[in-house]
Assembly symmetry: D2
Homo-oligomer: 342 residues x 4
């Protein structure tokens, strides 16, 4: 923590800050500049200095954190290497590009299996589908629940593809764990700490979506809640952030890819479907994600988009998925990656 | 829903949209302008048209929702009147200004009771204090839990003030309900639907905080999850939203006060503490909230701010609370309200 | 500037950074923490270190500015005192609350003079009105130009109120200077540096509006362009910033009031009209601005709002202006200010 | 314009709105739904209804614009085709990918010519370089001015590459026009209407950068100011928008590519340098831009980045530029484009 004093801060004000820093067992290094003084408290106990709440204290101009607040998620923790996860026989991370695809929601057996077949035929890495759906309105369809999980299980049996599916409510965790290869934690739940801890304990791989106004650092801190339970199989997912622009649902933040990869060893996945919210812009964002160096995408495809119950506008028809896969093949090769297959 | 067709949309494209609207049992009204056509589907089943996902359909320029998606929270639902809640003998809403105050976190008996005494002496409406704390870092203090609830109970006995305290995890609901007069749902949990429903079922009053990038409409939709359980005692709380500005923790959005009060009958409370994040700016925001027409504020005060464990910088010393209350008294009177007391 | 090195940065990387800091004539102070090293270069030449562009340099984690980049605008420059401007016999700043009011646009003689009379009768401090209008669309009405300036001049003659009017285009500066007591620089032009410098040289007082996504610091830097021309009569104006919320045109950022007043000696004015964009929410924001401690407001009022050419929805009828003034009188007194009159 | 009335709006309120719509010569189409009424006024005179300012009028819930406010920039204006500009013998738009590169600022003869040679050798489309620099601080280097223009002229002579350079101040337009093949209008000046009109009149091609919180629609409206002067050679440029994220300078909004290309016939260029603000992330964003379908990029490269005067951290060394060009070659081919060369 660097505590920057105001120009003209008095000796007493400086002494008071030093005293408070030392009161929590930290050493205060004083740097006197021509015009102002900076008090440094660098070390593992930076959080204690943060807890002092020195912002707004007389004579203090600003309090600047220096240490990263996350540990297990940091790239240093793996000595600079990338984590390569192994999920149902598929690799994610490093030079492997994970292509996860499937419908937004499990709707019925035909829809799920037809979509699954097309996804498998195009050579995807995993199959996605939601049995529990977080909905802004309590009056909207909330997912098939257990029946949806059963259909996902059948789709895996049939295609061999590992399953990615969302966990919304702690009370469903046993049911979800029985079927999921990857537990998805949605953007709205990124800071639902009870859910994060339990997903961590489940031992299943976790795909953690960035909250729609979460910073890079907050996403990493949220992953720390999972990692600290001893679960190393965590993927981070950017899915669009909230900005002032209303021409699309969310602004897809692809700069998060290089920024995250500098800070963390965890794989970084992009969801190219929710930000555009309409299928004709999804290919553009999928290719851009691959070119930006993402470790994979999770994309919504549907055998009959016009009949989709949920987020219909953004479901890409399975008939167009093969062509997208071909383009991704070329682009991932430019950035040194290959689509991961079983 | 109004579906605005592009200039030059073909007759076939228009017919296709009409057909899809009618396929879900809605009537499509066609308005042909000089340059483009608008297809209206106004009615209670607007959500069905929304589910069609017509965005990006050939010929469609934009899809504009017309109906409010919330029902029970809407001002019309109460025929234009304000809801006046009755909580532990205190009124909230209408001409009543609720002054809720207390420390961020329950830390120990002396701190809690001293703070409670000062809050009561200044004539506050309710007492706040957190026993469970949502923390960005898994390594931070997470609250005293049950012991904290016990101390809140004691503070109520002693002062007679109703208690506002946060519920974080469904598994703690029975403990919280035993002590709380008002269950607080924090900003991070605004769209934790399981938590909202259970808080609704608890029968306790609920203070629902706006998520840090939630729209006015999303806040109202979240309240709908509580209201639909038959619980009418809901207060909405603006506590600062996330913007690009880094000079403060959050941007306090006081325009939400008149905007919410136009749309809903529910009381609107302002949290003036978290956005500034430092105590010397809290009075300014408290007075502004009252002048803007808020139905109350929930403010963090502490008997010894420098020793506070959590959010220390923003705790207002109890010694300054009486003076703030006096100023609030004058300002609320200008806007036709009175501080609510037992 | 503090240059924070990554954990594990090599000795060579550290030496390279030190060398570069010294290459621009600055002294590098090295603080070695347990886990990482911070290199400080504190001093007046911080800008030179900034220009080195050390972000992304091998081993560098972050580069944190320490010094404020503005000088003349800083509170220290006036030894902590508030500037009190004197404009046409009216004081602005300190304990004086400036109430500036008038129509968005000068439309015709009757409208301007009727509005001016009502503003004067209610005891406002200054009269506002736009002769040149910045319009998003090239097809919209762009203002009466010189004829508008002439009518403003007549309104001043008649009421004695100083005139606030916007300068948009350098080529109009002589005309505007002839009439204006205060030159308004609009939000879109906050970083139009040529305009700022020339307004500075004009010797007239300047009301500088915050750009709609400008930070507090950028607003202060923009004022520095005016101040450095020797013009001390600058007022800063918050008028709503752009956020994700669509329920209003802009989000009025009242926290900017205490935040600016901590950093600068310049008066801080609030425009309560543009953020709501509708007249029934303007009173709420006007009162909130006064309660927050602003040094004044600049509000749009009109004798016949329904006939207004520009921003009609947000013009407050002059018939309601007296009542608003009365409420402001009480609220400003709570925060130790008085409406400034000639 | 669709005027959506509130549920329960009275017949008088509806009649009043209809009357006002008709008072400006528009026809009001009334659609009565089960719960509410919508009044449509669709047509070329929508702007007149907008000027009525019906927001906040009794009984009115919301006012929704239907028509696009831009005309010449719209895709319809070119019957759905892409504009292909011809600038100094290079094509921009359609299947042509424009690779514009060069230093942020012209610093001296060696720097400019060395950088220009490298840019030319790698097969770029145009050369960029700033002679006038917009700087947040009045104390920063403001560019070489005319001497910079002279060096750009020499670089063009030598390499044959067309020149892109920024115009900041109307008073420099004759000098800039003498040298520039493309006049760049920077983000801060996107709504400097005098500058836009004069750039339009100059007859030179214009690269218009999106303001850092401008919407897609506002960018198109700004281009309309140039187009209406009879200048068809306009390129739009996304360079990063301002969001809450502080891990990078700006958030690069690549969704703007498909969104703009749907609305306009004008070429869409991406600036991959300013948003990251550090060179090691620029390649990622350059490739992503190409994959997203952009019509070109404008990237900062420098022969000796460590010595750069301005934005040093983001200058890509010319030694790495050839490799980047090779990767762009492959990616543009996936999306059906080719790097444009003379």
């Amino acid at each position: 923590m660097m505590i920057v004093m105001k120009e003209g801060a008095s000796a007493d004000e400086i002494a008071h800050v030093v005293e408070r820093v030392e009161s929590v067992g930290c050493t205060a290094h004083i740097s006197e500049g021509e015009l102002l003084t900076v008090i440094g408290a660098i070390g593992e106990r930076e959080d204690r200095v943060a807890d002092l709440g020195l912002e707004g204290t007389p004579g203090v101009d600003q309090v600047v954190p220096i240490m990263k607040p996350y540990k297990l998620a940091s790239r240093q923790f793996k000595d600079g290497a990338d984590s390569v996860l192994e999920i149902g026989g598929r690799k994610v991370g490093g030079t492997n590009f994970a292509l996860m695809a499937g419908p937004c929601t499990v709707e019925n057996r035909d829809q799920m299996l037809d979509s699954a077949d097309a996804v498998a035929a195009a050579g995807a890495t995993m199959l996605r589908g939601g049995a529990y759906k977080p909905r802004t309105s309590p009056y909207s369809f909330q997912g098939l629940g257990r029946e949806g999980l059963r259909l996902l299980d059948e789709a895996r049996e049939r295609t061999g593809l590992p399953i990615v599916t969302e966990l919304l409510d702690l009370r469903d965790i046993d049911d979800v764990v029985e079927v999921a290869d990857v537990i998805q934690i949605g953007a709205r739940n990124m800071q639902n700490y009870a859910l994060l801890s339990e997903a961590g304990k489940s031992g299943k791989a976790v795909l953690l979506k960035r909250g729609l106004s979460a910073t890079i650092e907050e996403l990493l801190m949220a992953s720390e809640y999972i990692l600290k339970e001893g679960n190393e199989n965590v993927m981070l997912c950017e899915r669009g952030i909230r900005t002032y622009e209303t021409a699309y649902r969310f602004t897809l933040d692809l700069l998060a890819v290089p920024a995250l990869k500098e800070q963390t060893h965890l794989p970084v996945i992009i969801d190219p479907s929710h930000a555009p919210g309409r299928r004709d812009w999804v290919e553009s964002m999928s290719l851009a994600a691959a070119a930006a160096g993402a470790d994979g995408i999770i994309i919504e495809v549907h055998n009959e988009p016009e009949k989709a119950i949920c987020d219909a506008a953004q479901q890409v028809p399975t008939t167009e998925f093969q062509q997208l896969t071909d383009k991704l093949e070329t682009i991932t090769s430019v950035v040194g990656k290959t689509i991961s297959r079983g």
